[in-house]
Symmetry: C2
Subunit: 491 residues, 2 copies
């Protein structure tokens, strides 16, 4: 099969030049304007000495220039390596080295995290410098090859050492197509982006924008009040969020509701508490639960709209044309049996950059081991139980932290909850909980234990509750259970 196609922004600017590509705080740019800016920026990149095949990392906020830089790197033909802005200088140095980065672009704000040049050919460039660099006009890469690596994104690191997930143009393309075949597509769609572009959940919105020809309504930071206002005033039709964001949005919403124009709240980022789904259902918020990861270029399983209510809590079915299986080693599990989720599809990574061993550990026969646990119900709907690494095994029984957290969150006084396993000489592990109490509310450990006992098998009930002001989360607001484990160990 022919594997080249026109660069997406380039093609889009030719096809629908006057459609809005981007809106930031009321200001808008058409695809034609974005293309013009991006072409100039590519010339500045040539001015810096960048060339096709270079590895270019960045430490940037979500802003106009970030959108331009990402697209300009595709015009140059460079590999895009977005770095998590919350990382320490040491972590960043590791990823720069691991990804063999040639250039690091950064916001002044993150200057302190930028490692010293190490004499190994890494250039570090502030965004302001890039935009002041003299133009060198050169041919832009108007064609892309679907097999070419577009991005290297480091896994969020909720477990183990970060690995650089290579995603090709093809991986991103098929992800966008699979999403459109499930969610539908309207030329007037507007996708609100408030997740960082260094996570695939945020980055994939930019890809969809140019492939679909729809506008991105960009928020530099997530602010529940501003997001709610934007949904109402900017005709937002789709938004990608994780649980904690949606909770805050619902809280801010109060007695008001979303306009009918909002047709999809794509809810991902790990297991989702049942009370949140129930509340969303009650408020008729069009929540589409989804399951995906960096390795699948965002969504791979999403609930189709007609099952939104009947299959509450399910992540849905694999997007066209992807596939999933539940396995235990080589054995494929039956309906209802929990096991490891393995996935296959054109959106799935070919592996980790420069790490054949890690690649071989997770990829076999075209299938990717996700390390997550779940089951398929009788109708083939996926229910994600938990990350395998977070699984608590107590006296031979499996305890899924997400299930226990979900129950704790049903308690009216609790705002956030995290459950992890504590070593125990008798049971191997026993569940313990960390909770954040809602402002102005009070509750005791005994009350919470009793609350859980009414709702859970005894072995699943946390033996202790630690009250905290905040739970550790990554930039995408995903709960970092390993940080809780560290807290336990340092006790």
């Amino acid at each position: 099969m022919e594997e080249k196609m026109l660069n997406w922004l380039y093609k889009r600017a030719e096809l629908t030049p006057n459609r809005i590509a981007l809106q930031i705080e009321g200001q808008t740019w058409t695809f034609s304007e974005l293309h013009q800016n991006v072409r100039m920026l590519a010339y500045r990149m040539y001015g810096l000495g960048m060339k096709k095949g270079d590895h270019v990392a960045f430490l940037l906020n979500n802003d106009l220039y970030t959108v331009e830089i990402i697209h300009a790197l595709t015009y140059v033909g460079a590999v895009v390596i977005p770095l998590n802005t919350r990382l320490s200088r040491q972590e960043i140095a590791y990823q720069l080295q691991d990804a063999k980065v040639d250039y690091l672009l950064f916001d002044q704000e993150y200057a302190e995290q930028v490692p010293e040049p190490n004499g190994k050919g890494l250039s570090v460039v502030r965004v302001e410098e890039l935009y002041r660099t003299k133009l060198i006009e050169g041919a832009i890469q108007t064609e892309i090859d679907l097999n070419q690596t577009f991005t290297i994104l480091y896994t969020s690191g909720t477990t183990g050492k970060p690995k650089g997930v290579m995603l090709t143009y093809g991986n991103h393309w098929w992800s966008a197509i699979g999403s459109a075949l499930n969610l539908g597509l309207d030329v007037n769609d507007r996708w609100l982006a408030c997740l960082p572009f260094f996570h695939v959940s945020g980055l994939s919105i930019l890809v969809r924008s140019v492939v679909y020809g729809i506008a991105v309504v960009l928020h530099k930071k997530f602010d529940a009040k501003k997001v709610n206002q934007s949904i109402k005033e900017d005709r937002v039709t789709l938004i990608s969020v994780v649980s904690t964001m949606l909770s805050q949005m619902i809280e801010d919403l109060g007695d008001s509701s979303y306009p009918e124009s909002l047709r999809c709240v794509l809810l991902g980022g790990g297991s989702i508490p049942q009370p949140l789904l129930a509340k969303s259902k009650q408020l008729a918020i069009p929540v589409f639960q989804t399951y995906g990861m960096t390795e699948t270029a965002s969504q791979i399983v999403t609930l189709a709209p007609e099952y939104m209510l009947d299959k509450l809590g399910s992540a849905g079915k694999p997007l066209f044309p992807s596939q999933i299986k539940i396995v235990d080693g080589d054995r494929e599990m039956k309906a209802g049996e929990a096991g490891e989720i393995v996935v296959k599809g054109f959106n799935v990574t070919k592996g980790y950059f420069g790490n054949e061993q890690a690649t071989n550990e997770v990829i076999y026969d075209g299938w990717l081991r996700t390390g997550d646990i779940g089951y398929l119900d009788q109708d083939g709907f996926l229910f994600v139980l938990d990350r395998r690494k977070d699984l608590i095994i107590s006296g031979g029984e499996n305890i899924y932290p997400a299930e226990v957290e979900s129950v704790i969150l049903e308690h009216p006084a609790i705002e956030e909850a995290g459950v992890v396993g504590q070593s125990d000489p008798k049971w191997g592990q026993i569940p313990v909980a960390f909770v954040k109490v809602k402002e102005g509310q009070e509750v005791t450990e005994a009350e919470l234990i009793s609350f859980c006992k009414e709702r859970l098998a005894k072995y699943k009930v946390p033996v202790s509750f630690t009250f905290v002001d905040e739970l550790p989360r990554n930039a995408a607001k995903k709960l970092l259970r390993r940080k809780l484990v560290e807290q336990l160990q340092s006790k």
Copy 2:
């Protein structure tokens, strides 16, 4: 890139089993029901002895069993060769031989067109026999390879000898995706199919149905009154038609109008008379002019919705991610200059079955020469002038029959018009017209010549008008100008 995916109907039955796949005269079938029927039918095909890789042709009306047979052949892994039911026995014999057909399935209605078995391994099977064949259960092909040939469709034969256009699963897939990225996609879409499945314009609707998960509202025959009724009563959102169909539909519509649910009338099948477009605009019918051919697996250029009114008469821009150019030999033409339309894209055929010479004549460097003439305007919109073979060259001037026909059709007494070139010792060729007068109307040749003189350069005005009861058209209602040329020659 990985090139296998799940069979579309199989995947669709898994993903959205309860959605309506098909509606015929009020009766409906879900994707799950269709899949069950199709699996049984594949077993019957095994019962007949069919196997993966077989070439299976059919002479069938548009009906439930035709839909089932097409999908069942994909479950068997056979190549699907739909034959035009209007062909003579001799023409059919040629195509069966040319395509190396193993099985011919046919409706009793077409029994007389079925050639005698020739002892070369061709089996001919009536549909009723197929459905009475005993089942042999076997593995169905749940995966397809995008590089595998799905269909061989013979070019409509408006010019020269029919050639078997090979279209892979990938060609059909990308065609469906390109269309969705342009027209948008709603899970509640319903596509009315009244074009024969032996044309790519009809067949591609079946592909879109399973890829998108939307319903096909199937009409066995085109009947303007029934189609209009169906659009109103069956919540039809999209329909594919050619000019003559739309004319009849508008006539039948009278003073009524289409409901807002009808969001797209996809109008293809050759050059479209301006008066028809003007009328559609006046009636606010959402016409999307399109340009495509068997070789491009249906549409390759379609007008985006926002340009429907501003670029009336244009076929639009190449669908994502396809490309077009206008050339004269090796030279690429500038905006406004007419030349041959050449196209490129994942939806474009790799060639003609068993005919390397014909393939090499039209395909070069991944581009396909369409044999059609057109130009791109300053904004990159394609205007199709005519088929190159139909071009009339008179005293060195190019005359595009479609342009002249369009003018003749503006005359209130004219229902249909066809213009071709007649040999002339002085000018090389001179234009002559064939017209069908509307019922109850009268007009003379002198009046028509005078009407044209007011609107066209003198050399474009037909020197004669022949009044006919009917113009020759193929099953897709495309005007067959070569038949008019034959009429001229036999005079």
